[in-house]
Symmetry: C2
Subunit: 301 residues, 2 copies
Amino acid sequence: MKVTVLGSQGAIPKVGLFSSSLILNVCSTNILIDCCEGAQFQLRKNKIKLSKIEIILISHAHGDHYFGLIGLISTFSLMKRDKKLTLFCPLSVLKILQAHLKFSNMNLGYELEMKVLNNHTIIKILENNQFSIYAFPLKHSIYTNGFLIREKEKKRKLILEKALEKNIDKIYYNKLTKKENVINNDGVEINYIDVTKPGKKPRAFAYCSDTAYFDELINYIKGVDLLYCETTFLKKDKEKAAITLHSTTLDAAKLAKKGGVKKLLIGHFSSRYDDNNDFITEVSTIFEDVIISEEGKKIEV
Amino acid sequence: MKVTVLGSQGAIPKVGLFSSSLILNVCSTNILIDCCEGAQFQLRKNKIKLSKIEIILISHAHGDHYFGLIGLISTFSLMKRDKKLTLFCPLSVLKILQAHLKFSNMNLGYELEMKVLNNHTIIKILENNQFSIYAFPLKHSIYTNGFLIREKEKKRKLILEKALEKNIDKIYYNKLTKKENVINNDGVEINYIDVTKPGKKPRAFAYCSDTAYFDELINYIKGVDLLYCETTFLKKDKEKAAITLHSTTLDAAKLAKKGGVKKLLIGHFSSRYDDNNDFITEVSTIFEDVIISEEGKKIEV
């Protein structure tokens, strides 16, 4: 898993910076999470192949999280995309997108599967052989989801010298990595445990855009390897955070600590602050392993 | 009059560049003409005060000309604009904007006057004491307008020493510049001609986004001080231009020459070309006073 930050800022980004968007690369699939105005510029600047984006997740219908969506979908079309694109978003964003497509008479030329999110508890929204995606409700001024992407258990790794020693035909190697016992060239059953070792530990990433802290959130993000949580405000502005249903540094830090996550990535900074390092300083008082969002930053999960 | 170029490129801008948008400053009013994705970033980068934009003109509903509109309108709101904004656009863009406002439940907090363009010949769409704006039909794959902004005749300038010599009370100076005769302190009528000289020559700017060449266009843009005309294609790609209803370098040059304009500004370059200087070279064979669009370039009209 790898995260590339496309935007670090809240609703009014500083000059040269962008609002909320990031790319999660999981098992060779690129998932775009939120899509601010200019997200497509950031994708190209960071040399992320547009054709490799297969899934887009939109958390909610505030502009700093979706205004770049129509531009990106349109650019896919201009670049003659033929691969299917799957979009998960609230009904409001779907309606807006449909208006764009209808009134500008746009013929995309590729399949755009639009799936409406209307869950009010955590649900699995996609599953394939390699990973699952879950959506879970956040607490914001409009209907908003967070997302959890969890890799499936990886195949075991063959220990070649042991497989040779046990005289196993190589056509069975794949079965062994999938925890199946096989019969060797001498007609003896070989237990996969004896010739394989565990694969890479599956990873998990959770994304909490625009939310006030609430206890139930801990269960949704528990134990992930990387948690993205917005920190629009510093602690001195906790009243503003309460009114607008956003998180402060301390809210995100508490969530990360109570959720027992490995690392915390913070972002969606209000442009009222001059020094983003203050965010790190405040979070660190509660949760140490914190990373600050910066345009183009890549984080191995 | 002053033009600031916000974007120079066609539908798929190169990295770091933008699609179609420019700002016309006329008699202290800022008019935004077309609004590509990221136009608001360009406005702020070029230190153009968002609050000073009073009028937006959208030529047509292709994304590279309007995808930045909702972001800008939303940012005005986040910045607590209270001044009225007037938008002229085709019905399709109005419908899309209405969908954004409705489904994202956006309360702008300022007056947005939306005026639909559905003319099929040149019409005056706005007039005040200082300038008039006209919309005229272009020839493109969807309903598209060009725009003509023409300053009104400027007030005459007082020749102070002559006014003093004629013993005129200074409360009448303003009347004289507005071509009114006045009575001086000796009870004698003074002709404004004798104590004033002509004001600055009124200027005119025309904007032709996304159009094939057609003869009628010459009448719409005749004699303007600055003509913006798109040149998506070099002459070698004139067949592509014909199919997509765009202009080549030679089309724009012919229009400028036949229209007797003073200067030509070209833009909306296809990203297929490596060297934008080729556009200048080709235009110059027919029309010499040509300027190339570049992000942030300012042109005094």
